[in-house]
């Protein structure tokens, strides 16, 4: 345990100052400000629904929680139940098997709620467009407020996407 602790101390904070070319902090700062003014709360809880994706989006979203991106510092967090969520993120084309699940998850998310389609698959079905196994994009199943394109979108794209949504919602 001692070795682990010294390791921790020696490693230091990884969040900053990483050699960033991407303006995470800047986007994040804007995001935080946007959240401030939106709910009166300064926190957004995200419930993610994988409606049939390749898991590419999930990898990128997981990366949001790591030491590098550390989305918690902007007031974003993932929650375990749609009943706790403010934002519903949906990835992948909506397969027939997941159609009901997506609908119930949407139904259970308390208002005000935002639905974001993450990735090309979620926007219009992506490379699976018109396949018999899918219902279509997310917007064919539940109302979508915003879309974040990319296959998969990078974590920064995700953050920017959230920012755009919130700025849009503010207006």
């Amino acid at each position: 345990m001692l070795r682990l602790l010294t390791q921790m101390i020696r490693t230091g904070k990884k969040t900053e100052p990483a050699p960033i070319l991407e303006p995470i902090d800047e986007v994040g700062e804007n995001l935080r400000n946007a959240i401030h003014t939106l709910y009166g709360g300064r926190m957004l809880r995200i419930r993610h629904v994988d409606a049939g994706s390749t898991n590419g989006e999930e990898f990128e979203m997981t990366a949001l929680g790591n030491a590098y991106y550390d989305m918690e510092r902007f007031g974003l967090s993932f929650v375990a139940s749609p009943r706790h969520a403010d934002i519903l993120t949906v990835s992948g084309p909506v397969t027939r098997n997941m159609e009901h699940a997506l609908k119930t998850a949407y139904e259970m998310t308390p208002k005000p709620r935002i639905v974001i389609a993450v990735g090309d698959g979620a926007i219009d079905g992506g490379i699976w467009k018109d396949s018999y196994a899918i219902v279509g994009g997310v917007k064919d199943v539940i109302p979508v407020d915003a879309e974040i394109p990319g296959d998969p979108p990078s974590p920064l794209d995700l953050l920017k996407g959230f920012l755009n949504v919130l700025q849009g919602a503010r207006k």
């Binding site: 139940s81 749609p82 009943r83 098997n97 997941m98 009901h100 699940a101 997506l102 119930t104 998850a105 139904e107 259970m108 308390p110 208002k111």
Partner: protein, 654 residues
């Protein structure tokens, strides 16, 4: 005046029994019978009230040369409980029993109840050994007929083991009392006590053990407890309420009464009673946690509560014998716990049995695994049941909690000042009682949630009808009384532990801020007002949706059953529970053996069965094998045995 009320309460059940036989199976006959029972109960209640309102001196109720009935302070306490029990259960039976008129023969059931009630009252009032034993036996035999009332295989089996156990107990009671009264069966209690003064400690110990076995087997103490969870649930629910809520108390009464017959109580007896009580409480509550038959859970919980009461009696016996200055004070406060718990256990157990009877008659099963969702159908009744369940779990603000608090507090106070080894024992007892009370919470939380919460798991539970008011109010009265017991116990209690620093030197009163009972109630009321204000303030839109199911539609079969809820306990306490699992596979298709109907059957038996009952049974059988050799069937041989016996008797007599 007082005596006539008690005579009425004694005679009226018998009148009811006769009336039931005369009026046969008419509705009016049933109603009249139960009302006469209720009247008997009422006159008992009035008698007890008058008795305590007056000077409370012993009164002779009935007197003949052969035997007489006397009431004193102790017996009127128990008579009051019997009477309240009879009153509530017979009013409940007005409607509750009528639903089962095709199952039971109501007139004969009424006769059995009549003798049962008469037997209990006469047991408590009996003033001599013989009277006591006759009344006791009357009570046991009548209880046997209540157990087998529905005539099913299961009931007959349960009734048989009840009968055997009751008579083992009876035999040891007879032996114990005769030993104590120096062989005079007609001795009055004071004479017995006088006779006991001259006996050797060894004789007294044997007599005590016999009496403890006799009363303990009736009260459901381990290891002679196995019959109780079989027998009590088989009786009709109002009779189960009497059996569990009242008859066990009569056994306790017998035990406490016979304690006063002994000239002194050595330390070791108290230790035995304490340990047996704790062991019973532990096994009772453990089985209550893992059992999923609704009425059996209640029966196991009776074992737990009787165990706790007996452990309290044992602790009080120990504390009285020790040369320890705070001992008598603590012993008397534990005695108060015993008294409070007798009342509280009676209230919640009778209420729960009656409530369980309603549920069973609506759902058509005693299996909690297939109930559920009743709270949506019966909001008020579920509130009543919740109150009773919380009382049974000994949570505030119910009377049970205050009783157990008193017990725990007294045990904790006994830690200080006792010699070191004994105070460590007190610490262990404290831990055991805490474990038992923790597990009791599980048993009743499990019961309430699997019966009332979530979704219905069978058709009957889904389509239950309206709750008739006539069945709802007797349990409701029990629930209200247990809340009242909490409200009244608290001031009484606080004067003992909080203000009464002089009684309990160990209690530090800070700044004279005395523990005022009403502050706690004010706090609770204040919190409730805050909560209501919050509810007003937080008026947000509410939307009714399905349950969150992760996309796979939930059915009621996916819910945790009562069995599932207690799975961790079966695992953690597997050393004390022997569970037998069996997968029964019946093939459906002859071509493919994999297509089969699979059913899991499993049962839980107690370790007592393996370690105690089985070996004893086998030893008896082996003995019987030997004994069989004497049974040659030749008449001359039997005559020879008679002669040998006679000669032996003569030699012994000379």
């Amino acid at each position: 005046m007082v005596a006539s009320f008690f005579v009425a309460s004694l005679i009226l059940p018998l009148v009811a029994g006769v009336a039931a036989l005369l009026l046969l199976r008419t509705k009016a006959g049933h109603m009249l019978t139960q009302l006469v029972f209720a009247l008997g109960g009422l006159s008992g209640v009035v008698g007890a009230t008058l008795f305590y309102a007056s000077d409370g001196a012993s009164t002779v109720v009935f007197h003949t040369a052969l035997f007489s009935l006397v009431v004193g302070t102790l017996s009127v306490f128990f008579l009051g409980i019997i009477s309240v029990g009879v009153l509530l259960t017979s009013l409940y039976a007005l409607e509750g029993l009528r639903r089962y008129k095709s199952v039971y023969s109501l007139p004969w059931l009424a006769v059995a109840s009549a003798f049962f009630i008469f037997g209990m009252q006469a047991t408590v009032m009996a003033s001599s050994v013989a009277g006591f034993l006759v009344a006791w036996e009357l009570m046991s035999v009548a209880a046997y007929f209540l157990v087998i009332a529905d005539g099913t295989e299961e009931s007959l089996h349960a009734g048989f083991s009840f009968f055997i156990m009751a008579h083992i107990g009876f035999a040891s009671l007879v032996a114990g009392f005769l030993l104590l009264s120096a062989g005079n069966p007609f001795a009055e209690w004071p004479e017995v006590a006088l006779a006991a003064k001259t006996m050797t400690p060894a004789t007294l110990s044997v007599a005590f053990s016999l009496l403890f076995i006799g009363f303990g087997s009736k009260a459901g103490l381990a290891p002679l407890h196995q019959w109780l969870p079989m027998a009590h649930p088989q009786a009709p629910s109002h009779a189960s309420a009497l059996l569990s809520g009242v008859m066990l108390k009569v056994a306790l009464f017998g035990f406490i009464q016979s304690l006063f017959l002994f000239p002194s109580v050595p330390l070791s007896w108290g230790v035995v009673v304490l340990v047996v009580g704790l062991v019973s409480a532990f096994f009772g509550v453990l089985h209550a946690v893992v059992e999923s038959d609704m009425k059996r859970v209640l029966a196991w919980s009776s074992i737990e509560n009787m165990g706790l009461i007996f452990s309290g009696v044992g602790a009080a016996m120990i504390l009285r014998t020790l040369p320890y200055e705070a001992g008598p004070v603590l012993a008397s406060s534990i005695a108060i716990f015993v008294a409070l718990h007798i009342i509280n256990h009676f209230l919640f157990k009778s209420g729960l049995f009656m409530a369980a009877g309603v549920i069973v008659s609506e759902v058509h099963s005693r299996d909690m695994d297939i109930m559920g969702g009743l709270a949506q159908k019966w909001p008020i009744f579920s509130g009543v049941f919740l109150a009773l369940a919380l009382a049974a779990a000994a949570l505030p603000p119910f009377g049970t909690f205050f009783g157990e608090w008193m017990y725990l507090q007294s045990l904790a106070l006994a830690l200080v000042g006792l010699p070191l080894p004994l105070s460590v024992v007190a610490g262990l007892v404290l831990a055991a009682v805490a474990l038992v009370s923790g597990l009791a919470i599980v048993a009743f939380v499990k019961m309430f949630s699997s019966v009332f919460l979530g979704r219905a798991r069978n058709e009957h539970a889904e389509h239950v009808g309206m709750m008739p008011m006539s069945l709802m109010w007797p349990p409701m009265v029990c629930a209200i009384l247990s809340i009242v017991a909490g409200v009244l116990a608290f001031p009484f209690f606080s004067s003992h532990f909080m203000d009464g620093a002089s009684i309990m030197q160990d209690v530090v009163i800070v700044q004279g801020a005395s523990m005022n009972a009403w502050i706690l109630w004010a706090l609770i009321a204040g919190l409730a007002i805050i909560a209501l204000l919050l509810a007003r303030f937080l008026r947000v839109p509410v939307r009714i949706t399905d349950t969150w199911d992760c996309g796979q539609p939930l059915t009621s079969r996916m819910e945790y059953t009562a069995t599932g809820f207690s799975a961790p306990f079966r695992f953690f306490f597997r050393a004390f529970l022997v569970s037998r699992k069996e997968m029964i596979v019946t093939p459906i298709s002859s071509e493919n053996p994999w297509i089969a109907n699979r059913r899991l059957e499993w049962s839980i038996t107690s370790t007592w069965e393996r370690l105690f009952y089985r070996p004893v049974g086998q030893a008896l059988l082996r003995f019987a094998e030997y004994a069989r050799k004497f049974q040659s069937g030749v008449v001359q041989m039997y005559l020879l045995f008679v002669v040998i016996a006679l000669v032996g008797a003569f030699i012994f007599a000379l």
